[in-house]
């Protein structure tokens, strides 16, 4: 029997890396600021101490070269984990990721796989603004040859990172900064979680809410509020953006007849469109309303709080959407204490 305990998402990440580094000497972790005293918001704590500065190290500010570096290491027997403090910085590495990593295995006639993980953190809040808030999971999912995951619980953070490190393909591992303090049950042992399929976070029968990344938290909060009115929403964490398996969503929508996709990203040409298209394809006859897509408003992310709040979607918008779909009056949400930046981080950045 596996014992579990409550740990944070942050701890789950370090634990996954430490566990795999212990198991396999070819695993190493690197990136800008990875080995400084802050350790990427604490998510690589303990690694330098245990494994030394050859297996966990900070690099020059050279995202492009350092991604190619990982590829070269991966092609010669190592299992690199490259870390970006913000998804936005990964834009400097797009040539390596898309032109090189994604196609190397194919282009080598299946001789040389690329066992590399790229962890990238999504920023949000405290005026991070438009150069520190991108998510880009739909971009990378669009490219064959890459796996893309967006774990939303400590359990998945650990288990999917373990599996990502063991996987022989390039895996883009996208973490939302706000999850880092989240606490949850995580198995003590191996804990590997498959890199495919969604996860039903909360069962329900009246409506299906498919969410990615931080939007799972918003969806769960919305579901809580709705539950008090007797509405049960099934909340599904999409979790694996590529390769994406829609079957759990389909099962749920066939039961509920309603579907909302809440993506932690912009809507146009995003992952939400993919989910919507697939749900429509599979549930055509059983849908009682069109699939609704929610996400960021179509703008760069602004700095100032009132606009930042307007930019992001959340529990309130989800509740309103459900009410509309089910033909319910708008409930009074003034007493609700939804998630906000201040709930998570106290004081200045």
């Amino acid at each position: 029997m596996t014992t579990t305990r409550q740990i944070t998402y942050r701890e789950a990440l370090s634990e996954a890396m430490a566990q795999e580094m212990r198991r396999d000497p070819s695993v190493f972790v690197y990136g800008i600021d990875v080995a400084d005293h802050k350790r990427i918001f604490g998510s690589s704590n303990g690694l330098v101490e245990e494994f030394g500065d050859q297996r966990c190290f900070s690099t020059p500010l050279s995202e492009d070269a350092m991604t190619g570096f990982g590829l070269g290491a991966a092609l010669t027997g190592m299992r690199p984990v490259h870390v970006h403090m913000r998804v936005d910085f990964m834009l400097l590495a797009m040539n390596q990721i898309v032109n090189m990593l994604s196609s190397h295995y194919y282009g080598s006639g299946g001789t040389t796989p690329v066992p590399m993980v790229i962890r990238a953190v999504v920023g949000r809040g405290w005026g991070q603004s438009f150069q520190h808030n991108k998510t880009l999971h739909s971009w990378l999912a669009h490219i064959p040859g890459l796996k893309v995951v967006t774990p939303s619980t400590p359990r998945d953070a650990k288990g999917m990172l373990v599996s990502a490190i063991r996987d022989d393909n390039p895996v883009i591992f996208i973490e939302h900064r706000w999850f880092y303090d989240a606490v949850g049950e995580v198995p003590e042992g191996d804990g590997a979680e498959p890199l495919n399929g969604c996860r039903v976070l909360r069962p329900g029968k009246d409506i299906t809410i498919v969410a990615t990344s931080w939007m799972t938290v918003e969806a769960l909060q919305a579901a809580d509020v709705l539950a008090r009115r007797g509405i049960t929403a099934e909340v599904i964490d999409a979790r694996t953006i590529a390769p994406f398996d829609v079957s759990e969503v389909v099962t749920s929508v066939q039961k509920s007849g309603h579907c909302i996709v809440v993506d932690n990203d912009w809507v146009h040409c995003g992952f939400g469109a993919e989910v919507a298209a697939q749900v429509y394809d599979h549930c055509y006859g059983s849908l009682k309303s069109p699939v609704t897509r929610l996400g960021f408003v179509p703008a760069p992310c602004p700095c100032t709080r009132p606009l930042e709040n307007a930019f992001y979607t959340g529990a309130t918008e989800i509740i309103r959407c459900v009410e509309e779909k089910l033909g319910l009056d708008q409930s009074d949400l003034s007493g609700e204490n939804f998630f906000s930046y201040e709930n998570k981080f106290k004081g200045p950045f």
Binding site: D36, H37, S58, P60, L61, A65, R305, P348, F349
Partner: protein
């Protein structure tokens, strides 16, 4: 320009920058400036000296650490503080915050939170002015971390090749976040490397704004004589943590000892002593009072200003 006037101007600038950042420190814990603060305390002489040497409307570009650059370039603080407070009266209606200050009408084209990303932008601005024979020089400010990035080298190469009137201003505090230059640079002296390009090189460790001013004038003279871009390698000490308003010696990545000699020659102190010598204590105190008042008024203005309307979130996405 007389030594008096020059040094008075320089003091006005370094003092304004210092005072404004002190005001940020004093008010930041109220949690009303909801924007990540990258403070420039210790670097005042650079923004002041370089901008003084440039023509007022010469284009400049900077980074997320550009409070000093904005204030040196514009001299104003109302729109500055309003932006910090995220208000509609900020220079970008609060959409930009501390990391994206701009003042295009004064030449501050933009500042970016992506390391090194404005370096090539400077080349385009320089090209554009060169094409139109405006005689303008474009200056771009960046840290020692930025020279790790490939785009710095691409830009250095292209500016040298195209003989663009670009002034590269490397504000070298020896660290990128917490990683020292020795752990990032595969050479011992960046100025040595750069000098092998078709680019002038000038360096200083001075905290004296006038020295920086003179060095910049020399560089600009070199540029107009040779048509070559110029690279200023300027060392300084970052007083506070990478981001935030506190000291961070406890973190252990850099010793407080190293700070002391820099603090002795603090840029504001150095410049103050000089202007006191030139103009007398009284005149200096009056100037300081004037600036103190400007900052106090701006803070008030900012706090009283309204937030932008919610609808602004989708405005100005496309022109």
């Amino acid at each position: 320009m007389s030594a008096q006037a020059l040094n008075r101007d320089l003091y006005r600038t370094v003092y304004l920058i210092r005072r404004a950042e002190e005001a940020i420190k004093e008010n930041y814990l109220d949690d009303e400036m909801k924007t990540p603060m990258h403070m420039s305390m210790g670097a005042e002489a650079i923004a002041a000296g370089v901008c003084q040497a440039l023509d007022r409307h010469d284009p400049v570009l900077g980074t997320y650490r550009s409070h000093g650059l904005y204030l040196a370039k514009t001299g104003e603080s109302d729109r500055f503080f309003a932006e910090m407070y995220g208000r509609d009266t900020g220079m970008a209606q609060g959409k930009a915050g501390s990391m994206h200050l701009s003042a295009p009408e004064e030449g501050l084209i933009g500042t970016s939170a992506i390391v090194a990303s404005n370096i090539p932008v400077a080349l385009g601005a320089a090209f554009s002015h060169k094409q139109r024979n405006t005689g303008r020089v474009t200056a771009v400010f960046f840290g020692d971390g930025a020279i790790d990035e490939g785009v710095f080298w691409e830009s250095l190469n292209s500016a040298s090749l195209m003989k663009l009137p670009v002034l590269f201003v490397c504000e070298d505090n020896g660290y990128a976040v917490h990683i020292p230059a020795e752990q990032r640079h595969g050479y011992s002296d960046i100025a040595e490397v750069v000098s092998r390009f078709d680019c002038g090189v000038h360096r200083s460790e001075s905290t004296d704004a006038e020295v920086i001013y003179t060095l910049t004038r020399d560089a600009l003279a070199d540029m107009s004589a040779t048509g070559r871009p110029q690279f200023l390698h300027l060392k300084y000490y970052r007083y506070l943590e990478h981001v935030g308003v506190f000291e961070d010696f406890k973190a252990g990545y850099r010793p407080r000892d190293a700070f002391e000699p820099w603090l002795e020659r603090d840029p504001v102190k150095v410049q103050r002593e000089k202007v006191v010598g030139l103009l007398g204590e009284e005149a200096v105190a009056a100037l300081e009072a004037e600036i103190d008042q400007q900052v106090a008024k701006s803070l008030e203005f900012a706090k009283q200003s309204p937030f932008p309307a919610r609808s602004a979130v989708v405005e100005d996405v496309l022109a």
